[in-house]
């Protein structure tokens, strides 16, 4: 068999190659990012000023719901799976993923899942309109008739995640090069290993949740219907039992990326490697036992509320450890500020701000004021956009020269960073004010006192949106017309097996395993 990719479309359709599949994951997630971004632009355009101007409230709800679903399940999660596909074999000295056919399947069912989901936009009844958290009974008894498409879409997307995770676990546990013990693995591999276990644990819970919905809607059960002896609050418990680990599924691989970028551009080894591993494991464990901090207003008993408050506060400890470690890594380093580093630094700052608001919201008696306002919206955009998406962008600038053998244009990269960074903060910082002053989230229209900051937020959002097209341009122009990347040292301070390969790397990363000392 010839060494190298197949010709034509077959290369992609039947691919079992970790790089090709990784590439498809990345492009797919970027397409979803643009789609979800388009929905966000519709939302921010409608909220630009008080009154309904562009869409009606019903469609507005479809936009917020689809925005959340597409971003979480279509953009962020698959993008990190793409990164894992590209990097894990290269970082542990393996030729490919352990289960290449499964890899093909887990990617190729994704487009079907999202087609099911997005097709509802064109159906009678419209797209899901019950929020990305789809609380029953709004998503069951009161749902549009298209809800079944949403349910099957989620099933497919979940199956894809589970297969991807099994593959990652199998790869990391079995295909490491001789000498690469677990405690020598790059942190990106570690965070993904832990994330994969989280995914395998909670995706079935999500599948169970939507299946119960399916039964309630079509087969006369009443899991979530009080009139039939069920309990709408049960829905929230099962949803958040999935949902809270889910937010760490989103952020842990981002931690991994930042833990690679910061040492490189500080020219200094990562501070506290083993405490990073322990902190990640601690976060993963804690993430299973704090879910009801999303439910401080549902009327839990006092003991329950106290327990979830204390447990949530604990999460701040390992999260803090991570931040302190990154900063100590920078401390007394020899710093340069290439685009990946700028993104990584922005990540630390903005993620920490998101962590601060997270800590504030952990306190039940004041979360009662914050809950379901723009304060929450701000919090989770600080951790998910400035957190996960910034880390992802950092990673792409960082490894793009390795993947393509071409160097991006540094000036363009930096310019793109600043537009993104400034736009992001203009869009989301004022949302703290809006939330604190009383503006609820998921509102299609608002009272006049909220007008000014909403307009500012919309302007920032448009700016951030434009920065993503700029990013697309940077990536494409690098691939097409970038200068050749230096073969030896792409980044002066970079460590790790992936940097021992050529740029671009051979089709089967390591055909003979390297020795790790």
């Amino acid at each position: 068999m010839a060494y190298g990719p197949e010709k034509g479309i077959g290369r992609w359709l039947f691919s079992t190659n970790h790089k090709d599949i990784g590439t498809m994951y990345l492009w797919f997630s970027f397409a979803m990012f643009l789609l979800g971004g388009f929905f966000a632009m519709v939302i921010r355009a409608e909220l630009f000023e008080p009154g309904m101007q562009i869409v009606n409230p019903e469609f507005f709800n479809q936009m917020t719901t689809m925005h959340g679903l597409v971003m979480v399940f279509g953009a962020i999660m698959p993008s990190f799976v793409g990164l894992a596909n590209w990097l894990i074999p290269m970082q542990i000295g393996a030729p490919d993923m352990a289960l290449p056919r499964l890899n093909n399947l887990s990617f190729w069912i994704l487009p079907f899942g999202f087609t099911l989901l997005a097709s509802t936009l064109f159906m009678e009844g419209g797209a899901p309109n019950f929020g990305w958290t789809f609380y029953a009974p709004l998503s069951t008894t009161y749902a549009p008739s298209t809800v079944n498409f949403f349910i099957f879409g989620v099933h497919i997307i979940g199956a894809s995640s589970i297969m991807g995770s099994i593959n990652i676990i199998a790869t990391v546990l079995n295909l490491r090069a001789p000498g690469m013990t677990l405690m020598k693995m790059p942190l990106f591999v570690w965070t993904w290993l832990i994330t994969a276990f989280l995914l395998v644990a909670v995706m079935p819970v999500l599948a169970g949740t939507v299946t119960m919905m399916l039964m309630d809607i079509n087969f006369g059960t009443s899991f979530f219907d009080a009139a039939g002896g069920g309990d709408p609050v049960l829905f929230q418990h099962v949803f958040w039992f999935f949902g809270h680990p889910e937010v760490y599924i989103i952020i842990l691989p981002a931690f991994g990326v930042v833990s690679a970028v910061i040492p490189t551009f500080s020219r200094k080894p990562l501070f506290g490697y083993s405490s990073m591993v322990y902190a990640t494991s601690a976060i993963a464990f804690l993430s299973f036992i704090v879910w009801a901090h999303h439910m401080f207003t549902v009327g839990m008993p006092l003991a329950g509320e106290l327990y979830f408050m204390y447990a949530t506060m604990l999460i701040a400890v390992p999260t803090g450890v991570k931040v302190f470690n990154w900063i100590t890594t920078m401390f007394r380093g020899s710093l340069t500020f290439e685009t990946p580093m700028l993104y990584a630094i922005a990540f630390i700052i903005l993620f920490t701000i998101g962590g601060f608001t997270g800590l504030m919201m952990a306190m039940a008696p004041v979360d009662i004021q914050y809950h379901d306002t723009y304060f929450i919206v701000s919090h989770f955009h600080y951790v998910m956009v400035a957190g996960a998406v910034f880390a992802m962008t950092s990673g792409i600038y960082y490894w793009l020269p390795k993947w393509t053998g071409k160097m991006y244009n540094e000036a363009m990269g930096k310019a793109q960073f600043w537009v993104s960074f400034i736009g992001f903060n203009i869009a989301f910082f004022p949302q703290h004010f809006l939330g604190l002053a009383g503006m609820p989230r998921r509102y299609a229209d608002y009272s006049l006192q909220f007008a000014e900051w909403n307009m500012v937020s919309s302007i920032g959002a448009f700016m951030y949106g434009a920065a993503q097209l700029f990013f697309l341009y940077n990536v494409i122009s690098t691939i097409i017309a970038g200068k050749p990347a230096p073969q030896e040292k792409t980044w002066e301070g970079a460590e790790g097996l992936e940097w021992t390969l050529s740029s671009p790397p051979p089709y089967h990363s390591f055909t003979t395993p390297p020795q790790v000392k």
Partner: protein, 388 residues
Amino acid sequence: MLSRLNRLVAYALTPLFLLFFAGLSYAKEPTGSRPEGWNLLNLPVGVSSLSRNSYELHMILMWVCVAIGVVVFGIMFYSMIAHRKSLGREPATFHESTKVEMLWTIIPVLILVALAWPATTYLVERYDTDEADMDIKITGYQWKWQYEYLGEDVQFMSELSTPESAIYGDSPKSEFYLSEVSEPLVLPVGKKIRFLVTAKDVIHSWWVIDLGVKKDAIPGFVNETWVRIDEPGVYRGFCTELCGKGHAFMPIVVNAVPEDEYNGWLADKKVAVAAERELAKKTFTLDELMTKGEEAYNRSCAACHMGNGEGITGAFPALKGSAVALGAVETHMDVVINGVAGTGMQAFGGQLSEVDLAAIITYERNAWGNDMKDIVQPVDVLKFKQGQ
């Protein structure tokens, strides 16, 4: 050139972030004048012990975060400025220290324990719904609130009074755009009021920021919370759980008044309730019912079935030419009074007066080209209700 730009921006950013947080700490006077526009930055202090405790905890948390932020970002920006390669810095090689790791695990734990103390006290206070002076039952509907003064036989619906034309830009927006209602909840100051919160369709959440009260209204369950309002005033709030397309359009207005004023209001209200009951015995003409019916229909039904009776395809059925509106009166009354289980059609029997129900049903049978010519009187509705 760009690296100089970077440096400049980095210098500019430190104070900027501090400024942002300092901005957060800006607080306006507790009551009455609600900050707006650029001054709208922080949680209001509010007018109950609950809201004040939340505010206090919020400020403590914020300053703790600012303090940690100053240290953490300070060290970070120091490294970024002092330890750059362009200054010829050689990197150090240290990469672990158990002592430091212990330190920055233990210190945060201590801070957290210190914070847990007030949080626990405040939460325990919040849960103490005992020994209330009065009970108000709050029921969320798509998309309005019902208030019931338990033991007083007074209840009413409170819904958005901003006209649709203001929302769609066809008429000017008033000062309290989307924060004004047909009838506010009137409460006495200084009394411990227990709220029993529930819903009839989907989950809603009843929030008035100045009272420091937010409680989910969940169908099939009754949640308890309470408040003691310290100062008279008008306090505005919102629904805070996504409940469908009218989510942004079911505000809350609480009118807190001194106790004797409250008693006077309650007495008047009881008289009005009695008058309404009396009215139900009267026989109306078709014209009277059509006029009343149109008004009541637009208030309670048009959100879904639309003003022209054509509904929304795929979501809400049309009434114009529908089998129910053109069918047996009993079926029609049953649908309106008892709702249709498992759908968005609510049971309006408990929400509307007999007069309104009769007027609406009559209107639906005779409007938009529906031409049944039959009249449903309030007494018919009463009989139907009693007959089931």
